[in-house]
């Protein structure tokens, strides 16, 4: 499986771009797509999912241009949009059967597959109740189930963990880690912890452009020896913010312990082990 994104742009008006001259090559495995709100993540995912077409450029799955032949992508696609709805009068089972019909799948084992997916997503007890009665997290899990219905070869999850409680997040991660062997999984989020435990590759985008793309370690190395912790008085925080990139602050006995990224650390600062969140903040703030 290979997804080639070649110089794609999405222009909304003369000077407004959702994505600009964006290129990336994605192979089998889990790709974590990180970026601040409005970076263009959802625009990119919608174009890959054939919901919308790029203004320029080509998206090719196994060398098939999906703008010209969207059904080639759709046959093997599982897509969970960021903002989706359901028909409230259908129950989860009926809704998934409907989704299966839309995807062009059926057969005698379909019901069993749906049941097992609902079981895996902890929805089987409520499967015969109208989806209109579900909580936000339950609806999100129905969305995840429909994305996995057709044994997809390319799976796109746009902010999949929204509304899921911590236990369900773990369950979700365990579920999709199984896909990494022979599928392309694209997982978009602005929450780094959703990505760092699961993604083989990470891409960071901002303002419609790709900042970096590579393995987690490779990206973390960009901030190696630049992450420090220091204790400062509370009233110095504002001035500190102007000079450094702050990752986090912790209150401790009237002082603040600040984790920050810099090439010129303050005295008494302790060098810390960098992680993906440090790298993400560093790259999005400095680019």
């Amino acid at each position: 499986m290979q997804l080639d994104i070649q110089n794609i742009s999405k222009r909304y008006s003369r000077n407004k771009f959702g994505l600009k001259d964006f290129s990336m090559q994605i192979e089998t495995g889990i790709l974590g797509l990180l970026g601040p709100n409005g970076a263009g993540k959802s625009t990119l995912l919608k174009m890959i999912a054939t919901v919308t077409k790029p203004t320029n450029g080509i998206i090719a799955l196994n060398q098939n241009n999906i703008a010209k032949d969207p059904n080639y992508m759709r046959k093997q696609l599982g897509f969970l949009p960021q903002d989706f709805g359901v028909y409230p009068n259908l129950n989860a089972f009926e809704f998934l059967e409907y989704m299966a019909a839309m995807k062009g799948i059926g057969g005698s084992d379909l019901k069993l597959r749906i049941s097992q997916l609902l079981e895996g997503l902890n929805l089987i007890d409520a499967a015969k109740k109208p989806i209109g009665s579900y909580s936000g997290g339950m609806k999100q899990r129905v969305g995840i189930a429909q994305a996995l219905l057709n044994n997809p070869k390319i799976v796109i999850f746009d902010e999949p963990t929204v509304g899921l409680d911590p236990e369900e997040r773990v369950r979700f991660r365990n579920l999709i880690s199984d896909l990494a062997n022979d599928c392309i999984v694209i997982l978009s989020s602005h929450i780094v912890s959703d990505i760092d435990t699961i993604a083989d590759q990470v891409a960071i985008i901002k303002d419609g452009s790709l900042i970096t793309h590579g393995g987690q370690e490779e990206i973390i190395n960009l901030v190696k020896d630049k992450v420090y912790e220091v204790s400062i008085p509370k009233d110095e925080l504002a001035a500190f913010k102007e000079k450094h990139i702050i990752v986090s602050t912790t209150r401790l006995k009237g002082e603040l312990v600040v984790r920050y990224i810099t090439e010129n650390p303050l005295e008494n600062s302790t060098n810390m082990q960098a992680n993906l969140e440090d790298a993400y903040l560093y790259l999005t703030k400095t680019n």
Partner: protein, 503 residues
């Protein structure tokens, strides 16, 4: 502001222009809109102004209600209502704001209609000069106050009937019919006429009665009348002076509307309605330990390719069937029984269009419900959405309409009236593709709802030109015409949906 920025508003304005164009017919047109015992007025400012005002008060009352009667529903659907509920705004202020929002929209349409009739006056006038006050006066005293009452009614009905949109439609249909057919017997009773047009109609009638020297009631035709051209005579109508009591009654109606909002605000749900579907405690899924029911996706049964559309059709039919309250199906069943028990002609001409109209909320969003329910990302990325999904949506709706018509179809077939059987089938198909086309073009359901309402109203009033289900006698080309309409609308539907998908 939010409403005026919508595409639907643009379509509404265009439709208003088209409607305004027909209010005062072109001198050689084959129809008239107001005709009294074969008389129509000379095309002067007064006639233009009063005819436009009467027609606007009737048609905009009818259409306008459906245009504006979903303001609260929209706030509920978009969850803005919950935000509103958490602000200090009082129920009265919120509801009165809705009334004024409705009113502004209707006034905009009135302005468009007046503008259109001014242009038409310049084109058609019978050599008379333009008198602005004569032109505008009837609007000030008839349509402007009447539309305030309609704006109030829309809010009151929404609060009273809540989610029961079918009941809203039926109740307004009933109320509108009562308002239209009630005729004040004394001059002082004109004050009770909410729409305010009866006083003008009485004045016009009196003037014609003076001309023909008759004390008897004379035929006052209003609507789209196709007369015998040879009999059309003209008379000079110079407008009228509205009595003070009538002018005060308009203000009183507006104040009564505000008071009604005050009363209704006491029972307004403030977006804290009990949901129809509630999870009983026993429905709550058990919290299971992570790993307790974990599955390996690679071990799940592999799905097989199946491009048949039956599953889609079945679910689309289920969605149509389950739409709205279940007990509303009692009305459908009663309608089907009436199709059996009433005389065949009455069943065909009256019961069938009413029974079909009861399905307005089912048909109006057959092709836009994906967007309404935010399911369009799934449906638009479905495998061959045009050939499979759209077809199954249309097929499910046609099946529903035909199932409802089965008693009539059987009765017609038993009388060997196969032309009428075909007409009913074509009528059902036409209605469905019309709903699909208007839905896809306007990206909403209002346009179809208003159009369907008008269509049903004209059919109930026996206007055979609007007959789409073979209830009246027609030429042999009638079925071909229906077929051409169906094919044209189907083409538009598929082309527009393809265009949307390819964007």
């Amino acid at each position: 502001m939010q409403r005026t920025r919508s595409y639907a508003f643009l379509i509404t304005l265009c439709a208003s222009l088209a409607l305004g164009y027909t209010f005062v017919p072109e001198p050689n047109a084959s129809y008239s809109t107001i005709r009294i015992a074969g008389y129509v007025g000379f095309y002067n400012s007064a006639w233009f102004g009063y005819v436009t005002a009467i027609m606007t008060s009737i048609f905009l009352a009818l259409i306008g209600f459906y245009l504006v009667n979903s303001g609260i529903k929209k706030d509920t659907e978009t969850k803005v209502g919950q935000v509103v509920a958490a602000t200090p705004i009082s129920n009265f202020k919120y509801l009165i704001a809705k009334v004024f929002s409705n009113y502004m929209l209707l006034l905009t349409i009135i302005a468009v209609l007046i503008f259109m009739s001014m242009i038409l006056f310049l084109l058609y006038n019978d050599g008379y000069s333009f008198g602005f006050f004569q032109f505008i006066k009837p609007h000030l005293f008839i349509t402007v106050p009447a539309m305030f009452s309609i704006s109030v009614l829309a809010v009151v009905f929404e609060v009273c009937f809540g989610k029961y949109s079918v009941l809203q439609n039926l109740a307004f249909f009933f109320l509108f019919t009562v308002l239209l057919v009630s005729t004040p017997q004394k001059e002082s009773y004109f004050a009770f006429d909410v729409l305010g047009n009866k006083i003008v109609m009485a004045q016009i009638e009196d003037e014609v009665r003076d001309i023909i020297k008759s004390d008897e009631r004379i035929a006052f035709n209003i609507g789209y009348v196709i007369p015998d051209k040879k009999e059309t005579k003209k008379f000079e109508f110079d407008g009228m002076n509205f009595p003070k009591s009538f002018i005060l009654s308009r203000i009183a109606w507006m104040l009564f509307g505000i008071a009604l909002i005050g009363i209704i605000s006491l029972v307004f749900h403030r977006f804290d309605r009990r949901e129809r579907i509630r999870i009983k405690p026993s429905y709550q899924p058990n919290k299971k330990q992570i790993g307790a029911n974990e599955i390996q996706l690679s071990n799940l049964p592999k799905p097989k390719v199946n491009y048949a559309i039956f599953s889609l059709f079945r679910t689309e039919f289920l969605l149509l069937f389950r739409k709205g309250k279940r007990w509303l199906w009692i009305l459908n069943i009663i309608g089907m029984i009436l199709l059996i028990v009433f005389p065949l002609t009455f069943s065909h001409q009256i019961v069938l269009p009413l029974l079909w109209f009861l399905q307005v909320h089912r048909l109006s969003d057959i092709t836009t419900k994906e967007t309404t329910h935010n399911v369009h990302y799934f449906t638009f990325t479905a495998f061959r959405p045009m050939r499979r999904l759209l077809v199954s949506q249309l097929a499910a709706a046609i099946t529903l309409m035909l199932l409802l018509s089965v008693p009539l179809i059987i009765r017609l077939a038993l009388t060997f009236n196969f032309t009428s059987v075909l007409a009913v089938i074509f009528g059902a198909v036409l209605l469905v593709v019309l709903a699909a086309t208007l839905g896809i073009l306007s990206n909403g359901k209002k346009l179809f709802e208003v159009f369907f309402f008008m269509l049903t109203y004209t059919n109930i009033n026996g206007i055979s030109h609007a007959d789409y289900f073979g209830g009246f006698e027609h030429s042999s080309f009638y079925l071909i015409l229906l077929l051409v309409l169906i094919l044209s609308l189907t083409c538009i539907t598929f082309l527009k949906r393809t265009y949307t998908l390819n964007k």
